[in-house]
Amino acid sequence: MMEAVEILFNESLWSAVLRIATPLIFGVLGALLCERAGVLNLGIEGIMTMGAMAGWLTVYLGGDLWMGLAIAATAGGLMVLLHAGFTVPLGLSQHVSGLGITLFASALAYYLYRLIVEVGETPPTIEPFRAFPIPILSDLPLIGPVLFTQTAPTYLALISVAVLAYVLTRTPLGLAIRMTGENPHAVEAQGLNPNALRVGAIVAGSALMGLGGAFLTTAAFNSFFPEMVQGRGWICIALVVFASWRPGKALIGALLFAFFDAYQLRLQTVVEGVPYQLFLMAPYVLSIVALILVARRAEVPEALMAPYRRGER
């Protein structure tokens, strides 16, 4: 029992929390951006997989890590164009289209990986991002090693939260995107193009998702293997509801979730006799619980999942 509490005071736990949270932060922000514009993007699991593969492959083939991230983001944006095409101008079921993208993007990622890479006994590895201590700040007690000694993508994720929050609430573009998710007819009536805004938001959101996937292969682990996303994409979809579609709350949700995940991992080593699967189940169970708790109060964007057809009332 004591050991269970002791873990909480261990620096490495909190450092791990930020690490584990990073792909979630990218994923939640991406899903949030799509949904704020009115589109549910269930392709997230597949897009993260593709981002993971594309980012890793770029580095494996000789590119540097930042190029890997850029390619991953681009891959994410490209993969979603299909979903955008299906749901925005054509108004097809966002559920089915999204699932199709997940299946397709994952399958394509695995196929291309197998095609291009020789896989032996163990999957090949690359040189991942190393923790980059920020000068001066990383010497601060407590928060120094935790917050200011992380990898570059983690810093990027945290900055993204602030940027997205600012754009959504304080810029004309952000207002237009939010309005598209609430009432696309209002957007058209003010002379803007709701479909273009939706597609733009989806592509940007999916680029973020791609980054989340790339973090897994270029920072967290250093190789790519099937099923590595492990349902994180779906968890992000749940977290968006939990975050009431707000970037700040999304960050909190991701951190909270990462905390439970990190804690559960360390708990396994001190608690005996409990099957490890129970610990692994915890994140998924928690997500469901979180959804139940916030479901009633959810301030859903009013036009979420409603296809916009010009002139049709």
């Binding site: 054509l90 089915v96 199709g100 299946l103 779906w234 099957p275 189940m281 998924y284 997500s287 479901a295």
Partner: protein, 347 residues
């Protein structure tokens, strides 16, 4: 360019839509096969040979189709009512687990025991989906996410069980569950192949589902609820009752798939016994335009692709993941094809 709603949907168009979709998917995948340096036509030839080339491969293909028919029916039933059951995978495993567990030491005579086990499998799947359905009805929680997350939870649970209470002490290496009693195994449909009587169960299920959807009050009410929930409620149709009924039926079908697979093919449960039957079932349902008869045909197509791809991979070196690519592409192309059956494109 504008989309204009069609007044009537010509049946011929609906029937050809899946074919057009599949052809497009194969065409697009051909590009990927070419990228592997292999002639696509040759590759597809190997695929067809791998599925239809011999008596053995044909039976293999139908063996693979059996669970797909059932998970396809599960998805079709649910989607018709706009209940997005993505948990077919988890329901499959639950049905399998319960069947192996109870069937290990049931003690009833053969045929009766088998019937009991099938019912148990259905009950397991039904109850599993009832949870998310309840959460949707009473808390407004989207069932897409809950059913998806449950899949992961169930697979972990299965792993837990077969490494623990249900561990087969006689198995070496890979963990698997205690096997179901041999008295409850399906007899071979074609001797000395893996094709088993379970196929007949699947076909019967398709027939029963068709009957339910078209001839019963439940079927008509479900259709109404899926097409226009507000009008259905106004007409006195209880949406909670209908949705829950659909959930129980859909979950039962997916659970049945797991039970049939255990009793017909594997004998026990492992964590790898499903190469994604639940998810593939969704594609099957969409290709069938949610029609029970279409589900059988679509299941055969998907099974062909999976079985054929293994053979194709061995023969040509194209990664077998191409099967997943083709199946996923079929879903997407089918979406577009369905669009054209409902709308006409106008200048």
């Amino acid at each position: 360019m504008r989309l204009e709603r069609r007044e009537t949907v010509p049946l011929a168009l609906v029937a050809t839509a899946p074919l057009a979709a599949i052809l497009c998917a194969l065409l697009l995948a051909a590009g990927l096969i070419g990228a592997a340096g292999v002639n696509p036509l040759a590759a597809y030839g190997e695929m067809l040979r791998g599925a239809f080339g011999s008596r053995l491969s044909l039976t293999e293909m139908f063996t693979r189709a059996t669970p797909l028919i059932l998970t396809g029916l599960a998805a079709a039933v649910a989607f018709r009512a706009r209940l997005w059951n993505i948990g077919g995978e988890g329901q499959f495993f639950m049905g399998a687990l319960v069947t192996a567990w109870i069937g290990h030491s049931l003690g009833l005579p053969g045929p009766i025991g088998m019937a009991v086990l099938l019912v148990c499998g259905m009950a397991a799947g039904a109850l599993l989906l009832a949870g998310p359905a309840y959460l949707r009805l009473h808390f407004g929680v989207d069932e897409v996410v809950t059913t998806l997350l449950l899949n992961f939870i169930v697979i972990l649970f299965v792993g837990l069980m077969i490494e623990g209470p249900l561990r087969d002490p006689l198995a070496f290496g890979w963990p698997q569950s205690v096997p179901v009693d041999s008295a409850y195994r399906f007899a071979d449909l074609v001797p000395r192949t893996r094709l088993h009587m379970g196929l007949l169960v699947a076909l019967a299920a398709a027939g029963i589902v068709w009957l339910i959807l078209t001839r019963t009050v439940f079927g008509v009410e479900t259709r109404a609820a899926g097409l226009n929930a507000k009008a259905a409620a106004f007409a006195g149709i209880s949406l909670p009752r209908t949705i829950m009924g659909v959930a129980l039926l859909s979950g039962a079908l997916a659970g049945l798939a797991g039970a049939v697979e255990v009793m017909g093919v594997t004998g026990g449960v492992t964590t790898t016994m499903s190469p994604g039957f639940g998810y593939a079932g969704i594609v099957v349902a969409m290709l069938a335009a949610l029609h029970p008869a279409g589900v059988v045909v679509a299941a055969v197509f998907v099974a062909t692709v999976f079985v054929g791809a293994d053979a194709m991979s061995r023969a040509t070196g194209v990664p077998s993941f191409i099967a997943d690519v083709i199946v996923a592409l079929s879903l997407l192309t089918m979406l577009v094809a369905l669009l054209f059956t409902t709308y006409r494109v106008r200048r």
